[in-house]
C-alpha cells in the first residue's frame, strides 16, 4: 500500500501541470468537434416535427418526445417483411462476415509475417496494391463474379466479399510482425506445433489488433445492405438488411424526417456498443498480455 502511494507521487513529479492542462484542453477541444454532430443527432431524433424545421435550428431539443421512434415502429408494423427479419438479416450478415474476416485474415497474416513461405513478399505487395485500388472500378466485374458463383440473392453475396477484403490481412500482418522471433522460437523449442503457436501465442499477443479489426469490419458490414453492393446483390425483400429497409422506407421525404432521425440513431447505437465493448476488453487484457523478456 505504502509502495503504491509513493510510486504515484513520483509519477506526478515527472509531469508538469501546465503541459497536462494544455494537452487536456486540446483533447477536449478536438473531442468537442467530434461530439457535436452526435449530440445534434440525438437531439434531432427527440425533436417533434414542428421543432425539427425551426430556423435557426435549436441545438438542444426544447420539448423532447419519443414520437419519432413510435412513428418508426408504426411504419414497420405495416410492412410486408417484419422488422425482426430485417434485424436478423443484419445481425447474421454482420456477425458472420466479421468473424470470418477476422479469422481468415489472421490466419493468412501469420505465415506472411512470421513463416518462411515462398513468395511471401510478392503476396504482401499484392495485398498492399489491392488496397490502393478504388472499389468502384471493380464493382461491375465483382457483380459478374458473384453471379457466376451463383451467390446472387443469398446472404453469401454480402458475406463473401467481406472474407476476401485485404485490409484485415494487412493490419494483422503489421501487428504480427512486431512479435519478437525469439518468443516463437522458444515455443518451437518447447515443442509447440505451428497451429498451437498461432492460437495460443500469436493471437493472444495481438489481441488489441483483432479487437480493433472487429470494430472496422463490423462497422463496414453493418451498413453494407444499403450500399450499391447490397442493393444490387440481393433482391428478395426478406433477405434485405435493416439499413436497406430503413433507407427505403424513409426515403418518403419531408414527412418522414422524424422517423429518419430516429432510425439513424438506432443504427448508430449497435456499432457504438461494439466499440465500447471491445475497447473495454482491450484494457482488461493489457496487464495480462504482453511479452516477458
Amino acid at each position: 500500500m505504502k509502495l503504491t502511494i509513493r510510486l504515484r507521487r513520483e509519477k506526478k513529479l515527472n509531469r508538469s501541470m501546465p503541459v497536462d492542462l494544455i494537452v487536456f484542453a486540446l483533447l477536449a477541444c478536438s473531442g468537442a468537434f467530434m461530439g457535436i454532430p452526435f449530440v445534434f443527432m440525438i437531439s434531432t431524433a427527440l425533436k417533434p416535427l414542428d421543432e425539427m424545421f425551426l430556423f435557426p435550428p435549436t441545438f438542444i431539443v426544447r420539448t423532447p418526445t419519443l414520437d419519432n421512434f413510435y412513428d418508426l415502429f408504426l411504419i414497420f408494423a405495416n410492412s410486408w417483411v417484419p422488422l425482426s427479419r430485417y434485424l436478423f438479416n443484419t445481425f447474421f450478415v454482420s456477425f458472420l462476415g466479421t468473424a470470418g474476416h477476422v479469422i481468415l485474415a489472421s490466419m493468412a497474416a501469420y505465415p506472411l509475417a512470421k513463416l518462411k513461405i515462398p513468395g511471401r513478399n510478392f503476396l504482401f505487395t499484392l495485398v498492399v496494391l489491392s488496397l490502393m485500388f478504388a472499389s468502384q472500378v471493380t464493382s461491375i466485374p465483382n457483380y459478374l463474379t458473384i453471379s457466376w458463383m451463383g451467390l446472387l440473392n443469398t446472404y453469401w453475396a454480402l458475406i463473401f466479399p467481406a472474407f476476401a477484403t485485404s485490409l484485415g490481412l494487412f493490419l494483422m500482418k503489421q501487428f504480427m510482425e512486431q512479435i519478437p522471433d525469439s518468443l516463437l522460437e522458444a515455443a518451437k523449442i518447447d515443442g509447440a506445433s505451428e497451429y498451437r503457436i498461432f492460437w495460443q501465442i500469436v493471437m493472444p499477443i495481438v489481441r488489441p489488433a483483432w479487437l480493433t479489426l472487429i470494430i472496422f469490419s463490423f462497422k463496414g458490414l453493418w451498413g453494407t445492405g444499403s450500399g450499391s453492393q447490397g442493393a444490387s446483390y440481393i433482391y428478395s425483400e426478406q433477405l434485405k438488411t435493416m439499413d436497406y429497409a430503413f433507407s427505403q422506407i424513409l426515403s418518403g421525404g419531408f414527412v418522414r424526417s422524424g422517423p429518419m432521425a430516429a432510425a439513424a440513431l438506432i443504427m448508430m447505437t449497435v456499432p457504438i456498443a461494439i466499440f465500447i465493448f471491445t475497447q473495454s476488453n482491450v484494457i482488461q487484457t493489457m496487464s495480462t498480455s504482453g511479452m516477458k523478456d
Binding site: S30, F33, M34, G35, I36, P37, F40, M52, F53, L104, A108, Y110, P111, L115, P118, R120, L123, S130, M132, A134, S135, Q136, V137, T138, S139, I140, P141, I146, F160, F163, A164, L167, L169, L171, D181, S182, E194, Y195, I205, V206, P208, A209, T212, I215, K219, G223, S226, F254, M260, A264, M267, M268, I272, F275, Q279, V282, I283, M286, S289, G290
Partner: protein, 295 residues
C-alpha cells in the same frame, strides 16, 4: 504422414494452408475483377446479347482523360496535394491523440468512442440522410464550425512576417484550415496506434523508470520506436481511406454509374491508382528505413 517431404517443405506447406482460404477469395473477388477492369480500360464495351462484347480501342480512353476531360487533371492534382498534406497531419495528430487516450484516466473508453464517432457517422444511412433537408439543417449547425471559425489568414501573415519560408507557411496554414477534416478522418488511425501502444510491454517502461528516465524520454526511446512500424501502416491506411471521401473517386463513380462510361471510368482509376502507388512507394521507402523492429 507424407514421406519424402523435408521438414522445411512441410512447414511452408502449413503456411500455404493458412493463407489459401483468404487467397482463394482474393483471386475470385479481387484479382479477376481487377484484371477485367484493366481490360475494359483498353476496350470499347458494346452491349450484346447476354452481356457485352469488347472492342479493342488502344489508348483512346487514356488520351481522352488527359487531353479532353474538363476536370480530371485538376481533380487529380487536387487530390494529390490533399494527400501529401493530409498524410503527415493525420499521422502526427493520431499518434498524439492515441498517446493521450492510452493514459489511465476515468472514462477513457468514452473519450475513445468520441474520437471514433466520425468514422461511425460515415456509414451509409447517414450519407442518405445527408442528402436530405435534414442535412442542410445539420450543416448550418455543424458545418459552420469548421468553415468560418478557423480562418488562418492572420496566422499566415504573422508567419510570413517572422521569416518562415512560404512553403512551410502554406503547409501549416493549410493544415490549420483542415483541422476539422483531419480530426474527423483520424479515428481509425488513432485506434491502430492505440492497439500498438497496448501491445508495448509495461515492463519496458518499468525498467526505464527504474533507470531514471522521465516520461518524455521514455516516450521517444520506448513508445516511439515501438509503434514506428504502425506509422507505415497508418500512412497506407490514410491513402486508402482518402478514396472514400475525395472528389476524384466521386468523379470515377459518376463516370461509371451516371454517365455509364465504364471504360473511361476504369482508365481513370488506373491512372489514379498508378499515381497514388508512386507516392506511396516513395513514402514507404523513406519511412521504412527508419522503422524499428523489435528483435
Amino acid at each position: 504422414m507424407m514421406k519424402g517431404v523435408t521438414l522445411l517443405q512441410k512447414k511452408s506447406l502449413l503456411g500455404v494452408l493458412f493463407v489459401s482460404p483468404w487467397f482463394l477469395g482474393f483471386i475470385f473477388l479481387f484479382a479477376i475483377p481487377l484484371y477485367q477492369s484493366l481490360v475494359y480500360s483498353f476496350n470499347n464495351l458494346v452491349v450484346a446479347i447476354g452481356g457485352f462484347d469488347t472492342e479493342f480501342a488502344g489508348l483512346k480512353f487514356y488520351e481522352e482523360i488527359f487531353y479532353k476531360h474538363p476536370t480530371f487533371n485538376r481533380l487529380l492534382m487536387e487530390s494529390i496535394v490533399d494527400l501529401v498534406i493530409n498524410i503527415p497531419s493525420i499521422v502526427i495528430f493520431s499518434l498524439f491523440a492515441a498517446t493521450l487516450l492510452n493514459q489511465k484516466f476515468r472514462g477513457r473508453v468514452l473519450a475513445r468512442a468520441i474520437f471514433f464517432l466520425p468514422v461511425l457517422l460515415a456509414t451509409n444511412l447517414l450519407t442518405i440522410e445527408q442528402s436530405s433537408d435534414l442535412a442542410t439543417v445539420a450543416q448550418t449547425v455543424t458545418g459552420g464550425v469548421d468553415g468560418e471559425g478557423l480562418k488562418s489568414s492572420e496566422l499566415e501573415a504573422l508567419m510570413l512576417q517572422s521569416g518562415f519560408g512560404s512553403g512551410i507557411t502554406s503547409y501549416i496554414t493549410g493544415s490549420v484550415n483542415r483541422i476539422y477534416e483531419i480530426i474527423s478522418h483520424s479515428g481509425v488511425q488513432i485506434l491502430i496506434f492505440l492497439a500498438g501502444l497496448q501491445s508495448v510491454s509495461p515492463s519496458l517502461y518499468e525498467a526505464a523508470k527504474i533507470e531514471g528516465a522521465t516520461s518524455y524520454e521514455s516516450f521517444w526511446k520506448i513508445t516511439f520506436p515501438m509503434v514506428s512500424p504502425l506509422i507505415l501502416t497508418n500512412i497506407i491506411y490514410t491513402v486508402i481511406d482518402s478514396y472514400n471521401y475525395n472528389k476524384l473517386s466521386v468523379l470515377i463513380n459518376d463516370t461509371a454509374f451516371k454517365a455509364l462510361d465504364f471504360s473511361l471510368s476504369a482508365a481513370m482509376s488506373w491512372v489514379y491508382f498508378g499515381v497514388t502507388s508512386i507516392i506511396l512507394l516513395i513514402l514507404v521507402r523513406a519511412v521504412s528505413s527508419k522503422v524499428f523492429y523489435y528483435d
